[in-house]
Symmetry: C2
Subunit: 335 residues, 2 copies
């Protein structure tokens, strides 16, 4: 298939119909030198970029092409979710290895299209080029947020509590199930969590509206890295009080021959949310979360620790958790 025809087909797959375009502020979408977008009044623009690379984030024998496309979208949406924003527009740059199967690539783009629609994103442009490596996908996602609602990583003050919303360790367990070729059927859920993560978009929007929430980030690179970055950005140290290990993780860890705490602490790609909560308003936050945020939700909310004033923005560990401080510095992709 000629490059030009393939590009035309991929455009067709991810392109949105005209009514979606015009409704979503897209004045010019795919097919010109630039997209042209109109922002509603009173909103600011959120921008993030994240990649999925063959041999780093995925392997073609582990993933459906559609799942790879969906994953590219989700990892970007998680960043917007962690700021409480609404995803709106995206561009995709793909690097194609020699001999790339066009059907596989079309599957990836179908996944991109599918997940984009689900999260309210219009694909407005892209770039396709050969690449001497594996299949490489970069998405830049733009979203909107009402002016003045942004909650950054750096809002923790000494005394503030640090919570985790989500189900940490699942993705790492799924990855290890594939890497160690331990295909026991209870681990299928873990493999699904690894292959098809979800972004906590609705939860992020609810959280930034709460006056108690003073800092937020997602756990794309794992809990350890997220806490480290939040501490650094806030200029505080964080005392880690608890690593929340669910019964599910305990079970999976036993199948995998792993320490359950390590899955939770060192794992990445769960796309959970780390939430800083003002010291004085913690009770109000927890009761709101129980009644509203977690109603009918499969996610858990855990108090992980609290911020303390210290010269260096380090992680300290409560008794019994010290062995985690091994300086590995958090998750790095390991495929």
């Amino acid at each position: 298939m000629r490059e030009h025809d393939l590009i035309a087909e991929l455009r067709e797959i991810v392109g949105a119909p005209q009514d979606i375009l015009s409704g979503g502020g897209v004045r010019v979408g795919i097919g010109d030198d630039c997209a042209l977008l109109s922002l509603p009044e009173g909103v600011d623009l959120l921008v993030t970029t994240d990649s999925q690379r063959e041999g780093v984030h995925f392997r073609r024998d582990w993933f459906d092409p559609v799942a790879i496309g969906r994953r590219l979208v989700t990892v970007n949406v998680s960043d917007v979710a962690s700021k409480g924003g609404s995803p709106a527009w995206a561009v995709v740059a793909a690097g194609l290895p020699a001999g790339m199967d066009p059907e596989f690539l079309k599957g990836v783009y179908r996944g991109i299209s599918e997940a984009s629609r689900r999260y309210g994103i219009t694909i407005v442009g892209g770039d396709i080029s050969r690449d001497p490596g594996g299949l490489s996908l970069v998405m830049t996602l733009m979203g909107t947020t009402p002016r003045g609602t942004f909650v950054g990583r750096g809002g923790l003050s000494p005394g503030d509590a640090v919570y985790l919303l989500g189900r940490p360790g699942r993705s790492r367990a799924g990855y290890l199930s594939l890497a160690k070729k331990i295909a026991t059927s209870p681990l299928e859920t873990a493999r699904e969590a690894f292959r098809e993560p979800r972004a906590l978009l609705g939860e992020g929007k609810l959280l930034v509206r709460r006056p108690e929430v003073c800092a937020m980030t997602d756990t794309s690179d794992g809990l350890e890295r997220s806490l480290t970055e939040m501490g650094r950005a806030s200029g505080v140290a964080i005392v880690v009080e608890e690593i929340p290990v669910s019964a599910e993780i305990e079970l999976w860890a036993s199948f995998l021959g792993e320490n359950p705490g390590d899955l939770v602490w060192q794992g990445g790609e769960d796309y959970d949310l780390v939430v800083g909560v003002s010291e004085r308003e913690e009770k109000a936050f927890v009761s709101w979360a129980r009644e509203e945020l977690l109603r009918d939700s499969p996610e858990g909310l855990f108090r992980i620790g609290h911020a303390v004033s210290e010269k260096e923005a380090v992680l300290n560990f409560a008794k019994g958790l010290e062995r985690l401080a091994d300086g590995r510095g958090g998750f790095e992709h390991t495929i």
Copy 2:
């Protein structure tokens, strides 16, 4: 060097000081999950994404690292220039091969930083990941344009004239000088044009303000591809009347053993502008261009052809140019 330290150093290189950030509408820049940007009222957002990949767009033995970084910026700026916009913010996603020399990479980021400052761009985010291939760089550039000034590719009507602003064929000559290892000193200028293209940013802004200009695009993938895309987007055929070959290109072609017309027609990466001019206003356009646009400019302005009504949006050729219609479909990267 640990991944985390390297990322911190790269952030330092491309990060802008606080006064530039706040002056440029950047509420939150590098270092959070998303950047947060405020657009001035009455402007729309332009978005484009373009890549530079080792072994496809550049080779490390042909390019200074700083030049690779500058080139990444320029190719993106050219897209914004071709819509008459002002570049403003960008994110960069880099894929790093195993054993990447950190000093080389820092050079690339210095080039990104340098060119960004020159074109008025603030780097607001990025992503760094391993990549099993070569060094891969993707930039997404956002710019602004006053609402209502956008000139797309698709504005040509039958009878309208098509002009080229620039110096086509230079980049291809430079590439061939390197590929064929013909290092004659007059070709150094060509190699410079290949390594360090410029974007016609000021020219683009002047052009979109002219009422005579009805369509515009850049020639990143060569003259043939640009004309084809403009014709398709406009639903017209284009009659190619002339391939502008400069004395410089004639000379270089003789050194390279190439047909000068091929350099101009099949070459790419010149980042010239193709400009559609309304039939009735062509005279006014040309006299304005001579007096204002081209004053003190090294660029040339050439009438390339005109649009005609035809069922298929094809390229037709005036007498003597027919042999160009070989269906190769324009430039594809060839390193």
